[in-house]
């Protein structure tokens, strides 16, 4: 912590009914009958809201996602048969082939956005959620939550899924192509992750953390 800055002490505005919009900074009050999705009355963006505590389903979905994530990266996504030879590839295999051709930056972008960063995001979420459910605060809690926020926009597994479908169609008139187990796993993974996105709530995590600390 730099000496120039001072940490504010208990001066936070933790009023339960007042909130500020993330996109236009309008200060507004939460209506009594706040539903799951509230919109900012000035710019129309989604406001963070206090949904029901769904951390338990979130944990289940995260564990399932991690399992399917491994499947999606281990098993081939697309298989191709032509002239008696059989070729298949995974996301990592794709990146490996590109790096062999001297396209290292592209290979790095593919590994990062398709596998490494989403994988890290999943692990971070589990790392936060699992100890909190057991009533303990994991080390480096604040830093990990900040990392999650940075990681989130760079996960592009759903784009990879569409790309695999495009590649399948493109190759269909050249050779015999099949969708592999990896492709179905990616499909399942995206469903699981979107389910998790509606349950996982960092605000709830913070509340849990404060409660655990107080005990």
């Amino acid at each position: 912590m730099s000496d120039m800055s001072s940490r504010l002490e208990n001066r936070s505005w933790q009023h339960p009914v007042v909130l500020a919009c993330h996109e236009c900074d309008l200060l507004q009050t939460r209506p009594d009958n706040a539903r799951k999705d509230m919109q900012c009355c000035r710019c129309g963006s989604r406001l963070p809201c206090q949904g029901p505590d769904q951390l338990k389903p979130s944990l289940a979905l995260l564990l399932a996602s991690l399992l399917v994530f491994v499947l999606a990266n281990v098993f081939p996504v697309v298989q191709l048969e032509a002239g008696g030879t059989r070729l298949d590839t995974t996301l990592l295999g794709t990146a490996w082939q590109l790096s062999q051709q001297g396209m290292l930056p592209i290979a790095a972008v593919i590994v990062l956005t398709g596998c490494l960063l989403p994988g890290l995001e999943l692990t971070c979420m589990l790392y936060l959620l699992l100890p909190l459910m057991l009533g303990r605060v994991p080390a480096g809690f604040a830093r990990i939550i900040r990392t999650l926020r940075l990681l989130h926009p760079w996960g592009m597994m759903e784009v990879f899924l569409l790309a695999a479908l495009v590649a399948l169609v493109k190759l269909a008139h050249l050779a015999d192509v099949h969708a592999g187990i990896g492709l179905w796993s990616f499909f399942a993974l995206i469903l699981l992750l979107s389910g998790n996105a509606s349950c996982f709530d960092t605000n709830l995590l913070w509340e849990r953390q404060q409660a655990c600390k107080a005990n």
């Binding site: 912590m1 800055s5 504010l8 208990n10 933790q14 926009p153 790309a163 495009v166 590649a167």
Partner: protein
């Protein structure tokens, strides 16, 4: 309008923490403060948002030219070598009859990057001029920008998959071209530019005039 009655949080000395979204009461604009909950540095707006957004956008604009002119893929077949740019890939799909696919690829690889660059230009110029024009629509445009950002990565993944799959020594092989590098750069740079931009600056122009 209700907005005018209450005004922005920043005007009341309430800053949103960029790390944990806690609304923090700050004693004054001077000085550096840290969030009481997560200890992240507090900023009224994203620091240097416009300079960074401009820098990434200009870099994206420059990379956009080679991304469209250079081949992204080279196909070597018995019948000869074929070089594909992004646009010729779309044309090939269209001519071979897969219209829905041609449309998807056209939207993801041609339309989206171009519209992203133009919208970022629009947002940055209007914020720079402190324009009061259509703030709600401009915020919506920004939200859309953030949402479609990753989808232009589609072509990079497709090229990668084709390169990895089509390695049939003598029959056919596909190699990635230099255009793919430039295109990847465009996607990443426009995403960075959009991330650096702070949509709250759109509304600040309106707030200041009300005072």
């Amino acid at each position: 309008m209700q907005g005018k009655l209450i005004g922005s949080a920043a005007r009341r000395g309430l800053w949103l923490c960029h790390g944990c979204s806690l609304l923090c009461q700050v004693p004054g604009d001077e000085g550096q403060w840290r969030c009481p909950r997560c200890a992240a540095g507090l900023h009224k707006r994203k620091p240097h948002s416009q300079q960074h957004a401009w820098a990434f956008l200009l870099a994206a604009l420059i990379s956009y030219i080679p991304a469209n002119l250079l081949p992204i893929m080279r196909t070597e077949m018995l019948s000869g070598t074929q070089q594909d740019t992004i646009m010729s890939g779309v044309v090939y799909l269209w001519q071979s009859g897969s219209w829905p696919l041609a449309f998807v690829v056209f939207v993801a690889s041609v339309l989206v990057p171009l519209l992203k660059i133009l919208s970022m230009l629009l947002l940055l110029v209007t914020v720079q001029l402190r324009s009061r024009w259509a703030p709600r629509q401009r915020t919506r445009l920004y939200r859309l920008l953030e949402m479609v950002g990753p989808w232009s990565m589609l072509d990079i993944y497709v090229v990668g998959l084709l390169v990895a799959l089509v390695q049939l020594q003598s029959l056919a092989s596909i190699k990635a071209g230099p255009g793919a590098l430039a295109f990847g750069a465009v996607v990443v740079l426009t995403m960075l530019s959009a991330m650096k931009f702070d949509p709250r600056t759109i509304w600040d122009a309106l707030e200041d005039d009300d005072e």
